[in-house]
Every structure is written in C-alpha cells, then in structure tokens.
C-alpha cells in the first residue's frame, strides 16, 4: 500500500469512526421501517395462492376494493368502537387518579402506586389468562363488553403515567393566582388547570387508543366470538392473508404520519406567531 492509498484508507477509517453512531442508528431505523416498506409494497401485489407472502405482479385491485374481504371491515369497525370507548374510559379514570396522586395527600399512597405500576410490569398473557378465569367463574358472556373492560384495565396505568408527568411539572402558583383573582375552584380547574394539563391528557389518550386498537393477546383470551381487527389478521395468518390487510396497514401508517406532521406544522406556526 503506498502512502496515498494509506492516507485515503486512514481518512475513511476516521470518517467511519466519527460517524459510527449515525450509521449504526440509521441501520436500526432501517430495521424498524423495513416491515412497513414490505407491507406497503405488498399492498400492490396480486398473489397467486391464498397467502400474500411472495411477490407476483403489480395490481391496484386491493386498493380499489378495500372492503372486498368478508368480515374484515366489520372487524375494523369493532376495533375502532372498542378503542374509542376504552380511550374515553381510561382517560377519564386515569386523569382523576393522576390528579389525586399529584395534588393530594392520602393514606395508602404506596399501595395505589403499586396497583398502577403492576399492570405495566405484567406479561400480557398473565393478565389475559387471569381475567378469563374471573369471567369464567362469574359466568360472564364473553364479547364486546368483556373486551372493553379488559382494555380500560390495561390502558389505565399508561394514562396515569402520562398525565402525572405533565401535572407534576405544572407551576402550582398559576392556580393560586387564579384563585387570588377570585376564580372559584371549578372555574380555576376549567380555565387554568385543564388547559395546562391538556397535552399530558392528550398524550395519554393517544397512547390508550393505540394500545387498545392494536391489542391482540388480552383480546384473544376474552373476546368470545367477537372478532376485532387484530384477531381477523391472526385468523387470516392461518387461513390465508388477503391483500386488503396490507392496504389497511399502509393506510393506517400514512394517516398516523400525516396527522403527526400536521400537528407539528400547526404548533410550529403557533410558536412562531407567539415569538
């Protein structure tokens, strides 16, 4: 190796060393996004057999007829309904708990804290199995309501954590100021406390919605004959995967990214306006 070659070699080693973190990070990002790319590409596939695992030819049939598979859009609507009510329930109950934890002193705080932590530290299959033993023992009819009960249960802790973080960082003097300006407790809560806590509550609600909509393990145990979207996908992995599944997956990904981008643009503009 002559000196020039070794210099080039040296600089490229240096370059690699300086950018090692960036390269490794981007490789991980690629690993995270690769399945989404595959899901999107295969939503334009025209598979030969029942399974959509091998590329055959380009087709937009599935996009033109997203509900062309029996029962799929029905299961999607069941999932959306459950996710909506579970989000509502978990957000209301979780926000109340979060306020109690941050703002008040009471007995048994330690017990309450661990009761909120434990569902997050428990494998889903354990919660799923034990909840099923409860429902079996009570003779409850498995279906929409048992799924909803289960979803509110496991989303609750996540909402508490999200809201608690926000309320804790709130300046209590703002509420004192409102009261010094003769706002009643209710008015203070509606006009001052709630708007400040709103981002935390929104984050908790968003998390609850995503968790509930995507839940499979707990739902699978407690669903009876009700079919949610994840359960439909699970069943189709056994029977044959229609391309429409990929269409829904791609559409969900795009909607999520667009919503987040839009909210970022709005908040950027608002910040600039303030400054």
């Amino acid at each position: 190796m002559d000196t020039r070659q070794s210099r080039i070699f040296g600089t490229s080693v240096n370059w690699l060393r300086r950018h090692f973190v960036v390269i490794a990070g981007l490789v991980t990002l690629g690993y995270l996004l690769l399945p989404n790319v595959v899901v999107t590409v295969f939503s334009f596939n025209n598979p030969k057999g029942r399974f959509n695992y091998q590329w055959q030819e380009f087709s937009t049939d599935a996009w033109k007829d997203p509900c062309g598979v029996a029962d799929m859009c029905g299961s999607l609507s069941v999932s959306l309904q459950i996710a909506f009510w579970a989000t509502l329930g978990a957000t209301v109950l979780g926000t109340m708990i979060a306020f109690a934890l941050v703002r008040y002193r009471f007995r048994a705080r330690g017990a309450v804290n661990s009761l909120i932590f434990l569902p997050m530290a428990m494998p889903e299959v354990v919660m799923a199995a034990s909840l099923l033993t409860l429902f079996l023992n009570l003779g409850a009819q498995l279906g929409f309501w048992t799924i909803l009960i289960a979803h509110i249960m496991f989303c609750l802790s996540f909402v508490v954590t999200a809201v608690k973080a926000r309320v804790m960082s709130m300046d209590p003097r703002l509420e004192q100021a409102a009261q010094d300006l003769y706002a009643g407790p209710f008015q203070t809560f509606i006009r001052v406390t709630l708007p400040i806590a709103a981002p935390g509550i929104a984050a908790g609600a968003l998390l609850a919605f995503a968790l509930s909509f995507d839940d499979f393990i707990i739902t699978n145990f407690n669903a009876g004959s009700t079919v949610t979207f994840p359960m439909f996908v699970w069943g189709s992995a056994q029977r044959g995967t229609p391309v429409q599944i990929n269409v829904i997956g791609t559409a969900m990904f795009l909607v999520a990214v667009l919503l987040v981008l839009a909210s970022m643009v709005v908040s950027n503009r608002r910040n600039r306006h303030k400054a």
Partner: protein
C-alpha cells in the same frame, strides 16, 4: 398569560388574612375510587381467581373444586420446563439485541440528529400505528426461503455457522429460533429506544465538553460519563422489553415452529384449546411470580427504585 404580563393588574384591595383554603378531606378518595376499583376488580381479583383455579381439580363437565392440589405446579413445571427456559433465553437474547441496536439510534436522536430529530422520532413511533400482527407477518416475506436475505446469508456462509450453533436449521431462517428472536427484537425495539432517549436527552451537553477538555477520548467519555448517566433508561428499557417478550406467543407462533414454542404458547393452548384450566393457571402463575421476583431483584441491584 400574555394579557397578564402586558397589562398592569388593576389595584387590588389589600388582601385580607384568609385562612388557608381547605381542600375537601375526601376529594382524593373520590378521585381515586372509580379507577382503583376498576383495577382491583379486573386486575387484582383475577389474580386471586387464577391462584385458586391453579389448585383446583375436576373436569369441565363436573366442574372444578379447590382441593389444594399443588401437584399441578410440579406437573406443569416438569412437563413444560423447556418452554420456560426458551422464553427466558429468547426474551433475554431479544433484550440484549434491542439494547445493542437501540442505543445508537437513541444516541443519534438525542445528540446528533439536529433538525432531523422530530422526523426520526416520528419514524420510530409511526410503525406502532400499523397493527403489529401485520408487521410481524411481513417478516415472513423478508425471511422467506427464496428471499434475498436468506440468499445473502447463504452465500456468506453465515447460515452454516448459525445452523452449527442450533439457531437455524439447514438453509432456512423461518421456523427457527433465529426468526423468533429477530421478530421479538423488532417488536419491542421502540420500548427500548424511547426510555433510552428520554434519559440521554436529559444529559447536560456541557458534561461531554468537560470530558473532552480533560483529554478524555470519545470512547472514554461514553464509558465514564454518558453510559452511567443513561442507566435509568437502560434499566427501564430492558424491563419494558424483557417482560412483554417473555410472555409473548405471537412471534413464536407466526415465525417459529413447534420446536420454538414459548411458555406463552403453552398457556394460550391450554386455556383456549385444551381447556385444562388448572394447568394453564399454574403456568401463568409461575410466569408471573418469576417475572415479579426478577423485576424486584433487578431494580434493587441497579439502584433505581425511583423508577416506579
């Protein structure tokens, strides 16, 4: 807020000596009541029912009775210890892989991404919004026998090494332990990245400069300053990855074979197909106890009890 700071406040009458506002003594309890009741009835009580079911004997037709039949635990353990072992191994391997893969990305977002930070953050979170089952099924395509990944690994003779280690079998990656661990790693990676990022982000950048001023090489700075300060993120990240991975049965079912069954698969089939409730409850109880003991020990050891 803006109005408050701009306009001078009108002159208020001198504040009278008000007694400190008395908050209702019972308010916190009313706030806690519905949520805590929900968790007690639908989280804590099921655990008790499960414990009771695990020591019952009987049959579906005649009903079950509590007979303190602890032998169920012994039978469950001796029948299914390979699945337990596999769960710990696969979840452990996935956790370590998540840490190795996730740390550079979390570091990149926290310190090196600049104006790309938000975009990368969105790309980490966005896959969550596509059902994880659909994304896991995509690995069947990626790791397909005739696909480019398996082809490349074959040409590089990587598969010979992994087969020799028992991670893969022959020319296949699908339906082997490697595929299951790969799926587990993929599924729980964001749970590692997010806590790592939030603890890295809190590190004062001036500490890096100070380390550099004191002639520490970048590697030394990382080893002595950055990594120790990110420990809370490492601890909560590993817990958030290991716990769900150890109870998972989706990856083992979709990407594995009967030789890669984990304890979650056994609990699921005992409960939903074989309908042997006592054995299923005993297995689930053992898993829960094992996880709780491990978590407690781990949190104590790493000295971050404020994590909870």
């Amino acid at each position: 807020m803006a109005a408050l700071t701009e306009a001078p406040p009108p002159l208020a009458p001198a504040p009278e000596a008000k007694p400190p506002r008395r908050r209702g003594r019972w308010t916190p309890y009313w706030l806690l009541l519905p949520g805590i009741l929900w968790l007690l009835v639908f989280f804590a009580m099921p655990m008790i029912y499960q414990a009771s079911t695990s020591v019952q004997t009987g049959s579906l037709e005649e009903g079950y009775k509590v007979t303190w039949h602890f032998a169920t635990y012994w039978d469950a353990l001796s029948d299914y210890y390979p699945q337990f072992l596999r769960s710990v191994l696969y979840a452990g391997a996935a956790t370590i892989l998540c840490l190795i893969l996730g740390y550079p990305l979390a570091y990149l977002i926290a310190f090196r991404a600049g104006r790309w930070r938000n975009l990368i953050m969105i790309l980490v979170i966005a896959p969550f919004f596509t059902s994880f089952l659909i994304r896991t099924l995509a690995w069947k395509t990626i790791l397909a026998d005739s696909g480019p990944v398996v082809g490349a690994l074959n040409t590089l003779h990587v598969l010979d090494v992994t087969s020799w280690l028992g991670w893969t079998s022959g020319d296949r990656v699908l339906a082997t332990p490697l595929a299951v661990v790969c799926g587990l790693t993929y599924n729980f990676l964001p749970f590692m990245i997010l806590p790592l990022y939030s603890s890295l982000e809190r590190i004062d950048g001036r500490l890096h400069e100070a380390a550099g001023d004191l002639y520490a090489k970048p590697v030394t700075t990382f080893r002595k300053v950055t990594f120790p300060l990110s420990m809370p993120g490492v601890v909560s990240g590993t817990l958030l990855t290991f716990i769900p991975a150890s109870g998972d049965y989706v990856n083992a079912d979709l990407l594995g074979s009967t030789d890669t069954r984990m304890v979650g698969n056994v609990i699921q089939s005992q409960f939903l197909r074989i309908l042997d409730y006592p054995t299923a409850a005993a297995l689930s109880f053992i898993l829960m106890a094992a996880i709780l003991i491990m978590v407690t020990f781990y949190i104590r050891r790493s000295g971050t009890e404020d994590l909870v």
